[in-house]
C-alpha cells in the first residue's frame, strides 16, 4: 500500500474549541505524524470557505485522506464526507476527531484538553491511513407487495397500494375477508355499521384489478431482502393457491389478533354459567337483533365487565384499548333495545382517550348506566343466584368509589375479553423475520418514531398484530405502511450503503456461529459451498457477526479491526 497523503484540518469553531484547546499545538503535533502532508486550522471548518479550503488543499497537495478535528461526527460527518467527495475523494477516506463535544466543552484544563485533542487527532490520522474507498450498491425494487391478512388493516393497505398503481397479493388464511371486524355489529363511538365499512372495502378490493386475493392461503416461506423477496404461499385447505413462488418488494403483516379465552378467568363462570357471554358472542346477538338470555327472555339486569384478561398480573398486563368504548356501546345498545333493563358497567378505569369518546362516556351515564369501579387485581365474582332471588346470577364486587362490597343482580353478563397475540404469531414472525415483544405483539422499528416499520427492511406491520388498537389507528397504520412502500417503489431502485459486513470465503470454516446472530437475517449459509455470506442490502453494519466470528473471517467495512486498533494505538501512543 502506498504511503497515504493525509490532510488534517483543525477547526477553532469560533472560539468554542480554541478557547480551551491550543489548536496550534495540535497542529504542530499533527504535522509530526506519519503520512501527514498538510495541517490547516480555520475558524469554521464546516462553512463554505472551510469546505473549499479542504477541496483546495486536497487538489494542491495531492492529498488522498482527510481528517477533520472539530465537532462531533454526529454533527458534521455527512458535511465533511460531502466536502471530501466534492474534492474528488471517496467519502470513506475521511475521519473525524471530536474535539468539541467530547473535549473542549467538557474539560476546563487547557493543557489536558490540548493533550487529549492531540491524542484524538492522532487516533484519527492512524485510522484514516487504514481506511479504504467504499462504493455503495443498488438493487431493484420490485413493485409488488405481499399483504398478509384480509382484515380491515390488510384491505386498507392493499387498496392504498393498488390505487397507487401497483400490484398487491393479498393472502388470507380463512375463507373470507373482513377479519375480526366482520364479527362486529356497530363500531364505537359513532355507532357506524361495521358491515358497511367492510362491505365498501371488500367490494373495492374485489374489483381492483391490481389486487390478487388468495383465500384459504398462508405464507409458507419468505426469502431474499427488501425489494427482492420471494414468497411461497400454500393452501390451508384444498388446492394450492399459487403454483409459482411470487416475487415481491415489500410485505405488510396485518394478521390481526385473537380474543382472550374467557374460560381462563374461572370465577367469571364463562362456559359454565349459560348467560355469561363474551363481547364477540354479544356482537352475534346484536347482529341478530335479539338481546336475550339463554332461555329466550329479555334480561331485566345486565352487567358488563371490563378488562377480562387485560390489565392483570395473572393474564396480560397491558390494556386492550378498545374494550371500554365497546362496553359503553353495549350499555347504550342494551338500553335502547330493552329500556327497562338495569345495566351495570364494572370497570377498573374508563379509558376514553379518542375523538368523541368522552362524549360517548357522558352518554353512557345519561342513559342511566350504573358505573361501578373495581380494583385492578380484585376481580368481581360471578355466581349463580339462589332460587329465591329474582335474577339469574349475582355479582360480588368491591366497589372502589363507595368503598363497599356490593352484590348486583344480572341475567346477562357480557365479558369484555381483551386482545391477545394470535397463536400463529410466532410462526409468522419467524417466517418474515420480525421480533415479538414479551406479549407476543410484533415489534416496530422504533416505538415513537417508526411504528409501522420493523428491523427487517421491507417488512411492515399494521393494525392489531402490532398491539391492541381501534379502527382509526389500524387504518392509519395500514395507510402509513402502504405510503412508505409507495415512496420506496417510486424511487425505483434501492440504494445500499457501502458500509456492510463481508465474509471472506477463504477464511470462513462454515461453523455457522454467525447465522443466528443477525437480527436482520443478513448472514446466510450456503449449504452447498458450506460457507456463510452477508447480504449487503439487508446488513445494517452493527458488527455483531464480525466480532463473533471465531475465524475473524467477517470484515466490517469501515470499522475493521485494523482501523479500530489503529485508533486505540493512536490514543495510547
Amino acid at each position: 500500500m502506498a504511503q497515504p497523503r493525509i490532510g488534517v484540518f483543525i477547526c477553532n469553531c469560533g472560539t468554542n474549541i480554541s478557547h480551551v484547546v491550543d489548536t496550534e499545538a495540535v497542529r504542530d503535533h499533527a504535522l509530526s505524524l506519519p503520512g501527514v502532508e498538510s495541517v490547516r486550522t480555520y475558524k469554521y471548518m464546516c462553512s463554505n470557505p472551510g469546505q473549499e479550503m479542504i477541496a483546495a488543499e486536497v487538489r494542491e497537495r495531492g492529498l488522498d485522506r482527510v481528517v477533520v478535528a472539530a465537532c462531533s461526527p454526529r454533527m458534521h460527518e455527512r458535511t465533511f464526507r460531502g466536502a471530501s467527495r466534492a474534492a474528488g475523494l471517496n467519502p470513506y477516506l475521511f475521519d473525524m476527531a471530536n474535539i468539541r463535544e467530547q473535549c473542549s466543552w467538557v474539560h476546563a484544563d487547557g493543557p489536558a484538553a490540548t493533550l487529549k485533542a492531540a491524542a484524538l487527532t492522532r487516533a484519527a490520522v492512524f485510522r484514516v491511513a487504514r481506511q479504504e474507498p467504499l462504493e455503495g450498491l443498488t438493487a431493484e425494487m420490485c413493485p409488488t407487495t405481499l399483504v398478509l391478512g384480509g382484515g380491515i388493516a390488510g384491505l386498507t393497505a392493499a387498496l392504498e397500494l393498488a390505487d397507487g398503481g401497483y400490484p398487491v397479493v393479498l393472502v388470507e388464511r380463512t375463507d373470507r375477508l373482513g377479519g375480526n371486524l366482520a364479527r362486529v355489529d356497530l363500531t364505537a363511538p359513532h355507532l357506524d355499521s361495521a358491515r358497511d365499512l367492510l362491505t365498501e372495502r371488500i367490494t373495492r378490493v374485489r374489483s381492483q384489478p391490481n389486487i390478487t386475493v388468495l383465500l384459504h392461503t398462508q405464507l409458507k416461506s419468505l426469502s431474499g431482502f427488501v425489494g427482492n423477496y420471494t414468497a411461497v404461499v400454500e393452501a390451508t385447505k384444498g388446492v394450492a393457491a399459487l403454483a409459482e413462488p411470487v416475487r415481491v418488494g415489500n410485505v405488510i403483516v396485518a394478521t390481526g389478533y385473537r380474543e382472550f379465552d374467557a374460560s381462563r378467568v374461572t370465577h367469571y363462570g364463562w362456559g359454565k354459567l349459560p348467560n355469561v357471554v363474551t363481547s364477540f358472542e354479544f356482537e352475534k346477538m346484536l347482529r341478530a337483533g335479539r338481546i336475550e338470555t339463554k332461555d329466550g327472555r329479555a334480561p331485566r339486569y345486565a352487567a358488563i365487565v371490563h378488562c377480562v384478561g387485560s390489565r392483570s398480573r395473572e393474564f396480560h398486563g397491558y390494556c386492550s384499548r378498545v374494550c371500554c368504548m365497546t362496553a359503553l356501546k353495549y350499555s347504550q345498545e342494551i338500553k335502547s333495545a330493552v329500556p327497562d333493563c338495569y345495566v351495570s358497567d364494572l370497570y377498573i378505569d374508563m379509558h376514553a382517550f379518542g375523538k368523541g369518546c368522552e362524549d360517548f362516556y357522558k352518554r353512557g351515564s345519561e342513559v342511566k348506566t350504573l358505573f361501578l369501579m373495581y380494583g385492578k387485581n380484585e376481580r368481581p365474582v360471578i355466581r349463580r343466584a339462589s332460587p329465591g332471588d329474582d335474577c339469574d346470577m349475582l355479582i360480588e364486587v368491591d366497589e372502589q368509589l363507595s368503598g363497599e362490597r356490593i352484590e348486583i343482580p344480572a341475567d346477562l353478563v357480557v365479558l369484555m375479553v381483551g386482545m391477545e397475540a394470535r397463536e400463529d404469531a410466532g410462526e409468522v414472525a419467524r417466517l418474515v423475520n420480525i421480533s415479538q415483544d414479551k406479549d407476543g405483539w410484533f415489534m416496530e422499528s422504533h416505538p415513537k418514531l417508526d411504528p409501522v416499520a420493523t428491523t427487517t427492511d421491507g417488512i411492515y406491520i399494521a393494525g392489531t398484530c402490532a398491539s391492541p388498537k381501534d379502527i382509526p389507528d389500524t387504518v392509519a397504520q395500514a395507510r402509513a405502511a402502504a405510503g412508505r412502500i409507495l415512496a420506496r417503489i417510486a424511487r425505483g431502485k434501492i440504494e445500499i450503503d457501502g458500509v456492510f459486513a463481508e465474509v471472506d470465503e477463504e477464511r470462513c470454516s462454515g461453523c455457522r456461529i454467525c447465522n443466528e446472530l443477525c437480527p436482520y437475517s443478513a448472514v446466510e449459509f450456503d449449504g452447498e459451498k458450506k460457507r456463510s455470506h452477508v447480504i449487503p442490502a439487508a446488513c445494517k453494519a452493527c458488527g455483531a457477526c464480525v466480532a463473533a466470528c471465531p475465524s475473524g473471517a467477517v470484515k466490517a467495512r469501515h470499522f475493521t479491526s485494523e482501523q479500530i486498533l489503529a485508533q486505540v494505538e493512536g490514543i495510547l501512543a
Binding site: E506, R507, E516, P550, S551, G552
Partner: protein, 321 residues
C-alpha cells in the same frame, strides 16, 4: 545433483516427548528419513552432546525441528545455537509454536511454582527449604544450572523462526507432509504454518452444523451425545471454531471437543479472545441472571480457551503484582 544427505537436528525444550514420538509415529517413514538424512542431533533417540552442536559450522544443518517451549536459559541457549547452525529452524508442535501446555505456567508465577514444588509439597522432609539456585558454590567450585525464567516463551519469542508446525502433537501424516516438503524443497513463504489447513476445524469436521444457541454447557460425560451433530450445539465445549484445521478432527471424531492444540486459524492472533467472543455471542439468553447461570457452566474458561496459547496471547502471562 548433490547426493549429500539432509543434515537434520531435533531438539526438545520444555517438552513432554510427545512431538518426538510423533516423528517416530510416522512408522516406516522415519526409517526412510534415516536413509535420506543424517540425524546429527536428537537427544531422545540418538547420542549427542551440546559440544557437537557448538562444533558445527553456521548453516551446516539443513533443518532443525525444535519442539517444547522456552522455560529456562538452557532452552534459549540451544534455540540460539540451532538458529545459527541450521538453515531452517522449525517451531515443531504447540509448545514451540505457542507455548503449549507448559505455557499455562504463565498464569501463575515463578515464586509460586518453586514454592509448590520445593517448599509446600507434602513429600518434602520437614525443615528442608532447599530451592534450586542458578549458581551455587560447592566443593570449592561453582555449580551453574540453567536459569528458570519467570515465564514461558514460545520459540519465536527468542529466535527468528522459519516455519511453524502446530499440534499437540502434530498429526503423524502432517509430520510426514512437512518433512517431505523440506526434502523436496517445496516450501511456502517464510513464517508460514506448515502441516495444517488455513481455516478453522469446522471446515474439516463432518458433524452437521445448524443453529447455534446454547442454553447450558455440559461436560462430555454428562449427556448422551448425538455423534452426528456439532458438539457445541449440544452444549459440549469444543474449541474447533477457533482452531486451525489439519489434524484430521481426531478429537471430535472421538466424541471429545477440540482442545485447540493447532492454535488459531490463519489471520487470528489471540485464539482465546476470538473463542470468547464467538461462544458468548451464541449463549441463548437476554437475562443477566440467566446468562450468569449459563456461564457458570464454564468453571475455567481461560484455562480452556487458552490451553495451548497463553504465552502468545495478547496478555501473554499473569500480571498479578
Amino acid at each position: 545433483m548433490n547426493a549429500r544427505k539432509l543434515q537434520v537436528a531435533l531438539y526438545w525444550g520444555a517438552a513432554c516427548g510427545g512431538c518426538d514420538v510423533a516423528v517416530l509415529d510416522t512408522d516406516e517413514f522415519v526409517l526412510d528419513l534415516a536413509e535420506a538424512a543424517d540425524i546429527r542431533f536428537w537427544p531422545i533417540a540418538v547420542d549427542g552432546k551440546y559440544d557437537d552442536l557448538e562444533a558445527m559450522a553456521d548453516g551446516e544443518l539443513d533443518l532443525a525441528l525444535f519442539n517444547g517451549a522456552v522455560r529456562n536459559s538452557e532452552n534459549e541457549h540451544v534455540a540460539k545455537l540451532l538458529r545459527a547452525k541450521s538453515r531452517l529452524l522449525v517451531a515443531f508442535g504447540s509448545c514451540a509454536h505457542m507455548g503449549g501446555i507448559p505455557g499455562l505456567a504463565n498464569l501463575t508465577c515463578k515464586e509460586d511454582i518453586l514454592a509448590t514444588v520445593y517448599l509446600a509439597n507434602p513429600s518434602i522432609e520437614p525443615g528442608n527449604k532447599t530451592v534450586p539456585q542458578a549458581r551455587v558454590l560447592a566443593d570449592g567450585g561453582e555449580l551453574i544450572i540453567p536459569t528458570f525464567y519467570r515465564r514461558v516463551y514460545s520459540l519465536a519469542d527468542v529466535v527468528d523462526v522459519d516455519y511453524f508446525v502446530p499440534g499437540c502433537p502434530p498429526a503423524p501424516d502432517q509430520v510426514k507432509n512437512v518433512l517431505l516438503a523440506v526434502v523436496r524443497g517445496q516450501l511456502p513463504p517464510r513464517k508460514s504454518v506448515l502441516g495444517a489447513g488455513e481455516r478453522a476445524l469446522c471446515d474439516e469436521c463432518r458433524r452437521t452444523k445448524s443453529e447455534k444457541k446454547i442454553k447450558r454447557f455440559h461436560r462430555p460425560h454428562e449427556v448422551v451425545q448425538d455423534p452426528e451433530r456439532c458438539l457445541l450445539e449440544q452444549g459440549i465445549l469444543c474449541l474447533g471454531p477457533a482452531t486451525r484445521s489439519g489434524c484430521g478432527v481426531r478429537c471430535p471424531d472421538s466424541n471429545q471437543g477440540c482442545r485447540g492444540c493447532y492454535g488459531p486459524p490463519s489471520g487470528v492472533k489471540d485464539q482465546g479472545a476470538r473463542f470468547l467472543s464467538a461462544l458468548a455471542s451464541v449463549v441463548d439468553s437476554k437475562d443477566p441472571g440467566e446468562i450468569e447461570e449459563i456461564l457458570a457452566g464454564l468453571p475455567d474458561f481461560a484455562g480452556f480457551a487458552y490451553r495451548f496459547s497463553v504465552p502468545t496471547s495478547t496478555l501473554q502471562r499473569s500480571h498479578r503484582p
